[in-house]
């Protein structure tokens, strides 16, 4: 999912950089507070581990292979904040060592793979885990089937939502630039989502496998944030609940897409029409046209749908939590 330079509309790329810098700065600040000097090599080692793990191919079928992104794995092991910093480092090294992923596009790549992926992975995992895993792990296994599912779901969601964000960025780029940049929504969305829905399954399986292995053999690598003492005052105590944190994480992931929507609705809606005109006037006849009436509302509808779905899902999960609890949130 590493986007090269020149593909995205400069406005969208600029937005990506803005979002990246803001969130990365916050993440770096928070990491600085949570980690001691001693932790530096450990984080570096984990970054290297994910980097190297990304080099493994897993088969999808039909001779194609996919690769681990690792955002969810990273976040489940060390928490989302450090995972954001770590994934950023990985992307930087990939860009400078292999030229993989662009420079102007670095902001967007980082938003997708270093911010959205870990946040979604950790958020979904944290939300599902207490609902699905009851009791101790069966002997010889690292965790219950329920927790394994939570990890897998988190990993799948991290890949899927990151690719959805990427598709949205491509689509908005296309719309906003009158077709000079990006990829039209009717192509980018199904292609990205379809492909990554499958890749996500591989990521889920491998993430669960790796987590199980490492948890059994070297559990000290899972540095959980649960060990930090919860604050006792007001707003802070609400936010120290892990479920609440997970909710915030997921919401942030989706909120990052919101500015895209605003760009689109202010500049893009006309853009799509204009593209259709251009296509008619252009030197060569285009081979495809997207369905006009559907096209104009397609993107907006998709966006609203996704946001609505997420909101309802979170609300539902939250209610389930409250109903079955009676226990205070951890």
């Amino acid at each position: 999912m590493h986007i090269p330079d020149g593909l995205m509309d400069p406005l969208v790329a600029g937005l990506g950089w803005l979002e990246f810098v803001v969130i990365a700065a916050v993440a770096i600040y928070m990491s600085g507070r949570r980690t001691k000097d001693k932790d530096l090599p450990r984080i570096a080692v984990l970054c290297a581990g994910i980097f190297v793990a990304q080099m493994l191919n897993f088969p999808i079928g039909g001779g194609t292979t996919g690769h681990l992104i690792g955002g969810a794995l990273f976040a489940i092991m060390v928490g989302p904040v450090i995972a954001i910093v770590g994934m950023t480092v990985i992307l930087l090294i990939q860009a400078l060592m292999f030229g993989d992923g662009g420079l102007t596009a670095f902001g967007l790549n980082a938003v997708n793979m270093a911010i959205i992926a870990p946040l979604m992975g950790w958020g979904v995992y944290t939300m599902l885990k207490p609902l699905l895993s009851k009791g101790e792990a069966p002997s010889g296994k690292a965790f219950t089937a329920g927790e394994a599912f939570a990890i897998g779901a988190g990993a799948w969601a991290s890949v899927f939502v990151a690719s959805a964000a990427c598709a949205a960025e491509l689509a908005v780029s296309y719309a906003v630039s009158d077709g000079a940049y990006g990829i039209a929504a009717t192509v980018s969305v199904p292609a990205m989502l379809g492909y990554h829905a499958v890749i996500g399954v591989g990521e889920a399986i491998i993430t669960v496998g790796v987590a199980a292995y490492v948890l059994k053999v070297a559990p000290e690598m899972f540095k959980s944030t649960a060990s930090r003492p919860a604050a006792t005052i007001g707003l802070k105590s609400i936010f120290s609940s892990r479920i609440a944190q997970a909710t915030v994480a997921i919401l942030i992931a989706f909120a990052l897409a919101l500015p895209l929507y605003f760009i689109y609705s202010s500049e893009g809606a006309d853009g799509l029409e204009k593209t259709m005109e251009d296509a008619g006037i252009g030197e060569s006849e285009p081979l495809l046209t997207s369905p006009f009436t559907y096209g104009e509302n397609y993107f907006a509808a998709l966006f609203a749908g996704i946001l609505g779905f997420v909101a309802v899902a979170l609300l539902g999960l939250g209610m389930m939590r409250v109903l079955r609890a009676g226990r205070p949130a951890e």
Binding site: H2, P4, D5, G6, L7, I28, G32, D37, L40, P41, R42, I43, A44, V45, L46, C47, A48, G49, V52, A53, Q54, M55, N57, F58, V89, I93, A95, L96, M97, F98, G99, D100, G102, L103, T104, Y174, G179, A180, Y181, I183, A184, A191, G194, Y195, G202, I205, I206, G209, A212, Y213, V214, A218, M221, T275, D278, A279, G282, S284, P286, T289
Partner: protein, 251 residues
């Protein structure tokens, strides 16, 4: 639509760094190289007029040709990035016409090429050092340096594990439904982490025992010289020209 994932096959052949050290490009100050290429790439990303994009592509190709980076490597890396570029170009072509499709292909190729030359023509560690001197925060650059070191070590271990695996008859999984295949792959990945973990604690002591102060410092730091300024000036001038044409400041 199948977009091939070539990233996993990325390797950085050893000779690259040897070439880099010997070439004029490798000897430039990393800060100058980063600044020059960034300016070029930013400018190119802003271009939508076909003639300008072509000019940029020409510039990138000549940069590659003069850089003394082995052509075969550049071509191989470019082919790795090509699928994504092609998908975008073909899609734009289908929706907006041939010229737009060509623009997309040429523009992205130009940027990718420039970045490839930067990445292949300089030792990676030098680039990190350049970033540090361009004021990237200490934590990030220390992380870059350490992660890079461990990537080299773990990468070698992974190769050894894969060889051992193959020597015991593992031929890769067949698909997502091949449970055993996927399990072995995840155990291989898991082993990488476990071995990594043991190194982490010793790593801290190793650093402290040599006086490390959470900041990557180099023995010899290069200074900006005439060649560096020339490099930056060349790219800065041409890039601004291109942008000015694009924005209509010049006709």
């Amino acid at each position: 639509m199948i977009v091939a994932h070539v990233r996993g096959h990325h390797t950085r052949p050893e000779e690259l760094d040897e070439h880099a050290r010997a070439s004029w490009l490798g000897r430039l100050d990393p800060r100058a190289k980063i600044v020059g290429v960034v300016v070029f790439v930013v400018a190119t990303a802003l271009l939508t007029q076909t003639e300008l994009i072509l000019a940029s592509l020409l510039l990138a190709v000549s940069f590659g040709a003069m850089s003394q980076v082995p052509y075969r490597h550049l071509i191989r890396m470019y082919l790795g990035a090509l699928p994504f570029i092609l998908v975008a170009s073909v899609s734009v072509f289908l929706f907006s016409g041939l010229e737009r499709g060509f623009d997309m292909w040429a523009r992205t190729s130009s940027c990718v090429l420039a970045l490839l030359v930067l990445a292949s023509g300089t030792e990676t560690f030098e680039l990190f050092a350049g970033l540090r001197r361009l004021k990237v925060p200490k934590l990030v650059s220390a992380l870059l340096m350490l992660t890079y070191k461990y990537i080299l070590i773990l990468g070698d271990e992974l190769e050894r594990m894969k060889t051992a695996r193959t020597a015991r008859g593992f031929k890769g999984g067949r698909g997502l439904l091949d449970g055993r295949g996927l399990r072995i792959i995840s155990y291989t990945a898991g082993m990488v982490f476990v071995r990594a973990s043991a190194r982490a604690d010793n790593g801290y002591e190793g650093l402290m025992a040599r006086g490390f102060r959470m900041d990557m410092k180099q023995m010899r730091t290069s200074r900006l010289e005439a060649g560096d300024f020339a490099f930056m000036a060349w790219f800065a001038c041409l890039s601004s020209l291109l942008v000015m044409f694009q924005l209509g400041v010049i006709q």
